[in-house]
């Protein structure tokens, strides 16, 4: 692939990306969230059409405008979410969409034989007659790989394949990948886990912010080098952007009175806080029942900002949801002051002052068809604050919405504008306005400034500061390391659902955080 450009509206998701994979190799495609890894592969698989750029396979230029073209050209892709018919057997799922010969007769015995053959050959153990909905995630993934192999692919793309696998299943998968490349196939592994890449890849390409950063062979790199390139605190940041980052950081620092954060040689600042929030031995499962947060313990003081740095997919969403009272807690407890919140319904968490700014704004944050006014009321509809008598006081709510639109500079026609009509940044402003509306005692922010401009980011930081000044505890979970470091009183690194290091303000070494959050170095 050469010079691939893909824009979504005004956003450039892929900026002249060059990428190549050789025969007989496992090629790692590495990068953080939003780096463009999946977008690039979706272009190769025909799900997106590039705005410009060329794709050559075996030296021949090919036009791939739909997955069908990609499959014909020998490209197969396994997505993070599987597209399978739950009530069909493994064999039926695999042959679905292929040429079955006769439109009337359905004889799958030959297909079944081929599938058994492929499965044995590549070490992808699966029962061809099992019904897919009865299978665990790991096996369903094998089905998906077999689907690609059955269609005769010579280049297999795996998008974050290890997310829901047990270590044993990961080993099996990597063994199968080796068999494939030994037979002349190529495998692309999209991942953000450095250990994985080093374990299985022959070469790796690192992407950041829609650009190709580097391609290296395993022999010429090591984990540390990869971590630094991926986290992106090295030389090749473009100057304009560097300024942005610096400005953002400066803003945050400016809002902090009399702390010399910028100076990394300053002695670590240790402030004694009164305990505001206590999280004990928290274990949380993801939607597939896999425990992705394990024995997580954390205290946040009143007026303290604790920042959690980590690469997406290490349990952040589940952790945030559990501490926000949204996701059931498998074991452990969350206490707010003297108040045990574990096991109570979400509405009580909200009533006691827990405010949550979710990462996935559209899915978790707003009612798209409801107005800004209504969205701002959401979550406190049963609270006396927004009611007059037993009814919701919409007049007062509308006035507050007008005020919020002004204060948060939400670009909208008025408080009656449906939230679904707003842009991503403005939706985030509505969500933030809601979270800040009632002095929260615990504020959980997950990637709060993603997609916001500098001014709005600054405004958010100021608001966060005003929450802490009034004694609120803040948990900031972010993939933006600069944001975490500049805003937090204490920085924690999260890796594989557990804490892997903690630094007080002023004693944070970004490189060390980077190593810890990518699991290259364990907390000692």
């Amino acid at each position: 692939m050469t010079g691939v450009v893909k824009r979504f509206g005004s956003v450039t998701a892929l900026d002249h990306v060059d990428f190549e994979v050789a025969r007989n190799e496992v090629h790692g495609l590495l990068g953080g969230n939003g780096a463009g890894k999946t977008t690039l592969m979706n272009v190769l698989y025909g799900l997106y059409r590039p705005d410009s750029g060329q794709i050559r396979i075996d030296g021949k230029e090919v036009q791939i405008s739909a997955p069908r073209d990609a499959i014909e050209a020998g490209v197969g892709m396994v997505h993070q979410t599987f597209l399978q018919v739950d009530s069909y057997t493994v064999t039926e799922n695999i042959v679905l969409g292929t040429d079955l010969g006769s439109p009337v007769r359905l004889d799958l015995s030959d297909a079944r034989k081929r599938i058994v053959g492929l499965s044995e050959h590549f070490g992808l153990k699966v029962d061809p007659d099992a019904v897919v909905e009865d299978l665990p995630v790991g096996v369903r993934q094998r089905v998906e790989i077999l689907k690609a192999l059955y269609r005769g692919c010579s280049l297999l793309i795996l998008d974050e394949p290890t997310t829901n696998l047990t270590p044993q299943e990961v080993d099996d998968l990597f063994r199968s990948m080796r068999v494939m490349v030994d037979e002349g196939m190529s495998v692309i592994l999209i991942t953000h886990k450095i250990r994985e890449t080093l374990a299985v890849c022959d070469r790796m390409t690192i992407m950041r912010e829609g650009r190709h950063v580097a391609t290296v062979t395993r022999a010429e790199t090591d984990a540390e080098d990869l971590a630094e390139t991926m986290v992106g605190r090295q030389v090749d940041i473009d100057p304009a952007e560097d300024e942005d980052v610096a400005a953002t950081a400066a803003v945050a620092m400016g809002a902090v009175e009399a702390t010399e954060v910028a100076d990394e040689t300053a002695p670590p600042q240790v402030v004694e806080y009164e305990t505001g929030v206590e999280v004990r031995d928290l274990t949380v499962a993801n939607d597939h029942g896999v425990r992705v947060v394990k024995d997580f313990t954390l205290e946040i003081g009143k007026g303290e900002i604790v920042g959690i740095a980590g690469v997406a997919g290490n349990g952040q969403v589940e952790l945030a949801e559990a501490i926000a009272g949204v996701r059931p807690i498998v074991s452990g407890s969350v206490r707010l002051g003297d108040l045990e919140l574990t096991g109570r319904p979400t509405v009580e968490w909200l009533e006691h002052g827990v405010a949550y700014v979710p990462e996935d704004r559209n899915r978790d944050g707003i009612l798209p068809t409801a107005s800004i006014t209504e969205n701002l009321v959401l979550g406190s509809q049963r609270n006396p604050r927004v009611r007059r008598g037993r009814l919701i006081d919409w007049k007062a709510a509308r006035e507050r919405a007008v005020e919020a639109i002004r204060q948060f500079s939400i670009k909208a026609n008025g408080p009656a504008t449906p939230c679904g009509d707003l842009s991503g940044g403005n939706i985030q402003r509505v969500i933030l306005a809601r979270a800040f509306a009632h002095q929260p005692r615990l504020l959980i922010l997950h990637n709060p400034t993603r997609g916001l401009d500098i001014a709005s980011t600054r405004f958010v930081y100021e608001q966060v500061r005003s929450v802490t000044e009034k004694g609120g505890a803040v948990l900031l979970i972010s993939e933006d390391l600069d944001e975490v470091i500049s805003l937090s009183d204490r920085v924690l690194a999260l890796y594989a659902g557990s804490l892997n290091g903690s630094w007080p303000r002023g004693a944070v070494d970004p490189y060390e955080v980077g190593r810890r959050m990518t699991g290259l170095q364990d907390a000692s």
Partner: protein, 365 residues
């Protein structure tokens, strides 16, 4: 990990499909699509009548004026409005939570059974006692019927469309049994129960033909429902679940409880419709009394597009067409089914305006 995001604070908001209850544009922009859809539907309907060899002018004259040309027409129209309106609520209230109740006719029939049972068993009681009992029994029986579907939906994730539709068929057997074996009226020549006691009849208003007071109950109910859905916390939560169940859950709304509550209220309203039909119109329960209220309720519920304020007016409009339909058959010999076609066309054109508006908005950007 979900990575759906809109990464920039772009000045131009991407235009998602307009919501079913986009209350942005005020009265004119809400009413305009309605008027347009009605006019277009009548034009196409007129064309069909013409092609069938009838006179569309005479047909439409009958359809549109019968309701208003005599006292009988007005009363008849109001009587028709009540079950249509209540069945529309039975559909639209669960729909606000994103659930489809296609069981209004079953709930209506079971509600009628509940009402008629008390009306016959306690026929000697005075009206002040018996009539409220009959109406409440109807509502409770309807709740019970939709409650079966709600329970299956929440406890076992049984699709509510399937369960409510299938329960309709069960209810047909139920009323058949009640009307032919429990309290049959042998002289009726059609499966029907004996008449209820006088105390179970809704009193009439005005000279003959009198309008039964169930109409007033419906008016009060319309106000209560609009108020409940728009002003109370539970009404808000109900709508929130329909708009985005994930976000509602994150913000403390117990989504499955709300979805279940919507189904129960829907069943109660349909059951009440059954009791009112018994106490106000028929004085008994008879087979076929559910008429086509289920389908009309769905049409009205869909046309209202989430607005509980607009819904009663639409129900009245549909009742006008329904009453006019039989007059049309008498005076212009056009089959009554034409009116159902027109009603369906109104709905289709109305939905089409959503698409047009969406396109226009996108083009404007």
């Amino acid at each position: 990990m979900s990575t759906v995001e809109t990464p920039t604070p772009a000045r131009n908001a991407p235009a998602p499909p307009p919501g079913p209850a986009a209350r942005a544009g005020g009265w004119v922009s809400t009413a305009l699509p309605f008027v347009g859809a009605v006019v277009a539907a009548f034009l196409v309907g007129g064309l069909i009548i013409l092609l069938l060899g009838y006179d569309p002018v005479r047909a439409f004259d009958a359809v549109l004026t019968t309701s208003f040309s005599s006292r009988f027409g007005i009363v008849e129209t109001l009587h028709k409005t009540v079950p249509i309106l209540l069945c529309a609520y039975a559909f639209a209230i669960p729909l606000a939570t994103g659930k489809f109740n296609i069981g209004a006719e079953g709930q209506l029939l079971v509600g009628a059974t509940g009402g008629v049972a008390l009306g016959i068993l306690w026929s000697d009681l005075p009206m002040v006692v018996l009539l409220p009992c009959v109406l409440v029994a109807g509502a409770l029986a309807g709740t019970l019927w939709s409650g079966i579907a709600a329970f299956l939906m929440i406890r076992f994730r049984v699709n509510e469309i399937l369960s409510t539709v299938l329960l309709n068929f069960v209810s047909f057997q139920l009323i058949d049994y009640v009307a032919s074996h429990v309290w049959p009226d042998r002289g009726a020549g059609h499966p029907a129960t004996v008449v209820v006691g006088d105390g179970a009849r809704l009193p009439g208003l005005g000279e003959r033909p009198a309008m039964h007071t169930g109409v007033l109950i419906a008016v009060v109910l319309a106000v209560v429902v609009a108020f409940w859905m728009n002003r109370t916390a539970s009404g808000f939560e109900l709508r929130a679940v329909g708009a985005n169940p994930r976000a509602a859950m994150v913000h403390g709304v117990r989504t499955s409880r709300m979805a279940g509550a919507g189904m129960l209220v829907g069943g109660a309203v349909a059951g009440l419709a059954g009791a009112i039909e018994v106490a106000g119109v028929h004085g008994r329960m008879l087979e076929g009394m559910q008429s086509n209220f289920l389908i009309l309720g769905i049409i009205v519920g869909l046309m209202a597009r989430g607005s509980m304020v607009a819904l009663p007016f639409i129900a009245f409009g549909i009742a006008v067409l329904e009453v006019g339909a039989s007059a049309m058959q008498r005076t212009a010999q056009v089959p009554v089914e034409i009116v159902l076609i027109i009603e369906a066309l109104i709905l289709l054109f109305l939905l089409l305006t959503d698409v047009v508006r969406h396109r226009l908005r996108r083009a404007a950007q």
